[in-house]
Amino acid sequence: MTNTTDESSATTYNDNDPYAGAEPEGEGRVFTVGGGDWEDVVSAIDPAESERIVVNMGPQHPSTHGVLRLVLELEGETVMEARPVIGYLHTGIEKNMEFRNWTQAVTFITRCDYLAPMFNEATYCLGVERLLDIEDQIPQRVLVLRVLVLELQRISSHLVWLGTGGLELGALTAMLLAFREREEISKIFEMITGLRMNHAYIRPGGVAQDIPPGAVDAIRQFVPVMRSRIDEYEDLLSANPIWIARTQGVGFLDTEACMQLGVTGPLLRASGLAWDLRREMPCLGYDTYEFDVVTETAGDCYARYKVRLDEMRQSLRIIEQALDRLRPGPTMVADKKIAWPAQLALGADGLGNSLDHIRTIMGTSMEALIHHFKLVTEGFRVPAGQAYVPVESPRGELGAHVVSDGGTRPYRVHLRDPSFVNLQAVPAITEGGMVSDVVASVASIDPVMGGVDR
């Protein structure tokens, strides 16, 4: 044991005593106190650093929402410092996109935020369309279809949040229920785009292809079912005392902190500020739809839970309005030098170009053949410039900064991912709380590591 030279410590053993042993008698340090607050005495003598342990909630962890590593310094159960370490899923998507066509790059950027892939595609395509200066030539049907699939994707993403958030807090039923609904949405997506995830459906100029005949009915059947299921989730969780105890008062982040940290999305809206890009700086015709921007004022995990549940309801409203607005029309921009030529149909040998399309390009129109060839091999050229058109993804402001040098390939695409920015709030949210609150807080941020690391 060391001798403390601090006079206020008043240790009982005397280093001048030749008969005293090298080790003090008794276990640990012994102090004589003559009154005063115990906390003051102890904190003056026994600095807290020796009690802290560093715990690594490593990249492989059931509760860290993907490969997020949290280095926590704990004092007992209280988190003193929390440092998120990211980069475990870095894929170099942005650099990969520089070696592909403008249209091929959609398949890469769609895998960034893989829970809401079409939002990545949407922001990228809006940036490309702004550079191409065809923003006002996008057909009405394309705008409606894009809004339709984006809102379906929002519900799907919030369902995964609900499922995994519930799973991490111990409500396993929420996981099963949420994934049951997500299957319905995945079926609809499979009907429309051909894939359950990472669809590459929204392309520069329009959408990849038109929706098949049964899709509108399937979505119409789905909407009331989903509405009743959201009520089911409310019944299951909102008044559940365990859920309330784990999420209320936990992970508080007020509006000022959100603004400084650049946090957007449900976290900002749960802290009281009604900032939703769909309402404030709309694109894709969002200003013509009727929906409410859901806000809460508490700023804790429970408020974010309520915000996301209500956002699902608002998305259902928008979907119904979009379905009513669908009118027959083209699904790609009229300019044939940009419009992706694929009209896919299921033939005898699988999915491929429809026979009508082949008949047109081989028999009828030489220009169509040339356009098809040029677009597929070389791609269209985008005038030089930069554009940044963000959309409101389920996690916040998602924007692709698209830079073109006038060529057929993106010169640089940077995705401003909301999870990347929201994760900066982890120390602010968790420090001072308990370890179990870290799980709840990170779940309420809803980070998707694919978007964080890209």
Binding site: P383, G385, Q386, Y388, G406
Partner: protein, 231 residues
């Protein structure tokens, strides 16, 4: 009216300095021109600045910035208005002051820094190839603005914006990681995406994509950056 495939001579070209000289209509070279249109040369884009008036709210904003920050005229290198977006190319010494003004001035109120990233213009005519791009958002006025600072690879120092916008912390770390732009005054400028001991800055244009050749049914396909291109 769209002219998406017309690359030559648009006066509002955003200067990118990529030096895109192309000598075939397809841009491919090395294995013979397959088009018959050989001989076409695309002019490289010049660094232009949009003349006043800029239109929309841009004049009002630049005037407010000039009023609040009198040295604005020296600090500004170029103002580009393209496709309805305003980009201010500024000198790095004035970056923090201008950002603070943009944030605090009641007529500007750009409260949120949406994103900071880098772009590597390898063929920049002035030699300053690394650009740090700052996207600012004004929630009060529903406006967006872009600031761009250019530095050379030999002296890649840019003042850090973490004092003005705390959200810049991770963004600047990422830009350092991928481009090598050093942000002076950053509380902890370390690699964030790549492993801590990774050499090089991956998203620079002279850093290879990496990748291995893939064999499939007897043929090998080289990695994407070494493949023959049609563009």
């Amino acid at each position: 009216m769209t002219e998406p495939t017309d690359t030559a001579g648009e006066q509002e070209l955003e200067p990118t300095g990529t030096g895109g000289r192309r000598h075939d209509i397809f841009g491919a070279s090395g294995f013979g021109d397959t088009s018959g249109f050989g001989g076409l040369v695309a002019r490289p884009p010049q660094l232009v600045s949009t003349p006043r008036p800029y239109g929309e709210w841009f004049d009002e904003a630049t005037d407010a910035l000039q009023a609040a920050y009198p040295a604005f005229g020296d600090a500004i290198e170029r103002v580009v208005v393209h496709r309805g977006e305003l980009t201010l190319h500024i000198k790095r010494e004035a970056l923090v002051a201008i950002a603070q003004t943009l944030r605090d001035d009641p007529g500007l109120r750009f409260e949120m820094c949406a994103s900071i990233s880098g772009v590597d213009y390898l063929a920049d005519p002035t030699g300053r190839r690394l650009h740090a791009v700052y996207h600012l958002l004004s929630m009060t006025y529903r406006r967006r603005l872009r600031l761009e600072v250019s530095v050379t690879a030999e002296d890649p120092h840019v003042p850090s914006l973490t004092e003005v916008y705390p959200t810049a912390n991770w963004h600047e770390r990422e830009t350092w990681d991928f481009f090598g732009i050093v942000f002076d005054g950053h509380p902890g400028l370390t690699r964030i995406e790549m492993p801590d001991d990774w050499p090089g800055h991956p998203q620079r244009k002279d850093y290879p994509l990496g990748g291995i050749p893939v064999e499939y049914k007897g043929a090998t396909v080289p990695p994407p950056d070494e493949r023959r291109s049609y563009a």
